[in-house]
Symmetry: C2
Subunit: 425 residues, 2 copies
């Protein structure tokens, strides 16, 4: 028997050494330490409307099939062919294309769209590389960039959140004629009812961006994150994507979205549609090393609900749910007097978030007085500074209306405004 | 509108440039091009015995719960607490520990055990690093090492497949006193009814390995892949793991296994149990970037079937199924005369594979004459040379008895032996 010795600590790789707890973990710790806290932070979806019957009916129908239950067997690395065909049809509809335009070969299934984003970055970028991101941007993506040792640079926006063409031209000139040119490996943006801003990029903005890049010979791979595209409250998708817009055709393009946010997040199935075969196949090789295929059962359930229309029916339901919850939060913040305290925001037309701007000088960061005032009042939010690739603003707040019921949203809003009032005295 | 130009190809990262199609993809292509082929290659599980009723009953029970259907909501990055408690209990039972020895804090849930292996390598190893692996070893793990730019070095085995202590001492002396010492970052082995060899490491072999490493001051993190531990035909686990064996206590230890191979591969839920908090937390941070949590619904289903005993009942069933299928393949190969052609193998006591040694001079590689003879006869196998981290042997074959029904196993065996006979004429 070996003599017991102290356990030797492992050495870590560069990636392992960079690995840091996500900032959001500190939020969760705060939540756990404060029972009774109402969270406007969590990006969860509405729990009361989760499609339990649709899922169990789909499982029962799969079980009743006479053939071998292949849905409980391993699937393929790229994903189920029927699911990929259904997604190709969905994209054709969304882009206004004739059926058959998108091929299922271009589509691959992932563990939520997050994995598609990770695979994309993994095969494109080495540590030290540069990625252009929207401003503000999805904070889990920004943390992933840091984990991979990558630098984010924000696409400039004006005070209304629109792409700032003049500032963009200056930024791209700087990149095109300097050492950053060789480091720039990808462009990323959340284009529909964005997390966190709730904004959508219109076709003109998307085209302007493509043309500004192309004019400088920058044809870096582009990733459009369309996770919230189907969550427009009126069912309307505000613009075509990089898949369809002419100006983006010369670029290698990856469009990512998810089947779980608009249906059931517990299934964790996302997808990518990639125009570039070499890029796609490299992402798939990397996925082969991650897990060699997303859970086949979850994919089979989603095939069922997409094919029989229950996915679409559920989407109709939750669009209404989120529209009402958005209105409830927005109105509760207004009626509690947050506007009068100098806060500004726009009610979005879809998605799960309100994006608030506090008066100048109010510090909304995790270590600032406002966050602690909110903890005292019993409400949690995502500090907006986490949502900037660079040059963070310190007076922004992301509020989610996804998970709380309308009465709790109203209560949370009152606590939030009470915290704002306590600081403005 | 932009003038259409040729699409610019993306530049790839070092990892992206290394990404190569898995060799197994060539097998699949061969299979698709030869309808009627019987595959002894696929590592799939038995389809006829898949636990459809257990899964649909579990789904119905979840749906019938009066509370909010949180199982269709996002879960946590580390995995469901109850599932992790159930797995901690499973480990306690398997290692012969009193209940409560293993903590659920040490356990994390992954997309199959493959993801746990990927996360482990990602946070430990940089390109150019060295990993010690069993000989033969799991070929998807070996391909993943190549994808990450890592070098595999085999732990030497004798002609019976046992760890060769003298050769091991020479290898470790060479590593300990040379430039490889700084590059060595991990030790990996499949210890129960191994893929591909069907062998289990006994406690003496495992302890010998730990002592040989420790004697040279090599306390590299160790990963024990126990994916087939529960698939012993008599329900017996042949040895304790690195979690329990004294000699391994000074090492950072990761034990990986899966709930899907012994139940339903379509659910794709694996797990790791890691003794080292820093290592575990870094893997979890990386997982946060991959997908921030394995599908909650699949985890909830597995909680149900573990807690109500249907997982254990299914395991009893499939142990018998695999024992019979193993016997069917083994006996069909014998009665068709493969022994008389000079082939050697041992019937394993568990798992899904037979590991065959062809007579010297028979080339079983993918481009060799035997593989093509098998294609002509209509049977597919995994060339054994893919299963070596270095110095591959070219006369080995992995046959899986997992997926084909017993009558088809017999037919496939006859084809296989016909191919062997055609080359020995």
């Amino acid at each position: 028997m070996a003599v017991k010795t102290a356990v030797r600590p492992p050495e870590f790789s560069a990636l392992g050494r960079r690995a840091a707890p996500p900032t959001i973990a500190r939020l969760m710790t705060a939540a756990l330490e404060s029972p009774g806290l109402l969270s406007l932070a969590a990006g969860f979806t509405d729990s009361a409307s989760l499609p339990v019957d649709f899922v169990t009916n789909a499982a029962a129908r799969l079980a009743a099939r006479p053939e071998t239950p292949e849905f409980l067997q391993y699937g393929t690395n790229q994903g189920r062919p029927l699911l990929r065909r259904l997604l190709a049809q969905l994209i054709d509809t969304e882009e206004g294309w004739a059926p058959g335009h998108t091929s299922e070969r271009e589509i691959f299934i992932t563990n939520g769209s997050q994995q598609a984003l990770f695979l994309a970055m993994q095969v494109l970028c080495d540590p030290g590389d540069l990625v252009l991101v929207d401003r503000p941007s999805y904070f889990v993506f920004l943390e992933m960039l840091r984990g991979l040792g990558l630098e984010a640079r924000s696409l400039p926006t004006d005070s209304a959140g629109k792409l700032d063409r003049a500032a963009l031209a200056r930024l791209l000139d700087h990149i095109a004629h300097g050492p950053d040119r060789a480091r720039l490996k990808a462009v990323y943006f959340v284009s529909y009812f964005s997390n966190p801003s709730g904004r959508s990029l219109d076709e003109t903005e998307k085209t302007d961006l493509a043309q500004a890049l192309a004019a400088r010979g920058i044809f870096a791979p582009v990733i459009e994150d369309a996770a919230y595209r189907q969550l427009g409250f009126d069912g309307h998708s505000p613009s075509r994507s990089i898949l369809a817009l002419d100006a983006w055709q010369p670029f290698p393009r990856l469009y990512t979205s998810t089947l779980t946010k608009p249906f059931a997040t517990g299934l964790k199935v996302g997808y990518g549609c990639c125009s570039d075969e070499a890029w796609r196949s490299r992402m798939l090789h990397a996925k082969g090393h991650h897990d060699f295929g997303t859970a086949n059962f979850a994919q089979a359930l989603l095939e069922e609900v997409l094919a029989d229309g229950s996915f679409a029916r559920h989407l109709d339901t939750i669009r209404g749910v989120y529209a009402r919850k958005c209105a409830a939060l927005d109105e509760a913040l207004r009626s509690a007097g947050l506007r009068e305290l100098g806060w500004r925001w726009t009610r979005p037309a879809g998605g799960l978030y309100l994006w608030l701007e506090a008066p100048p000088g109010v510090d909304t960061t995790l270590d600032g007085p406002f966050f602690h005032a909110c903890l005292r009042e019993g409400v949690l939010y995502v500090p907006g500074d986490l949502c900037f690739g660079d040059a963070p603003e310190h007076n922004r707040v992301r509020l989610s209306f996804g998970v709380l019921a309308p009465d709790l949203l109203a209560a949370a809003a009152e606590r939030f405004v009470a915290a704002a009032r306590s600081l403005s005295r």
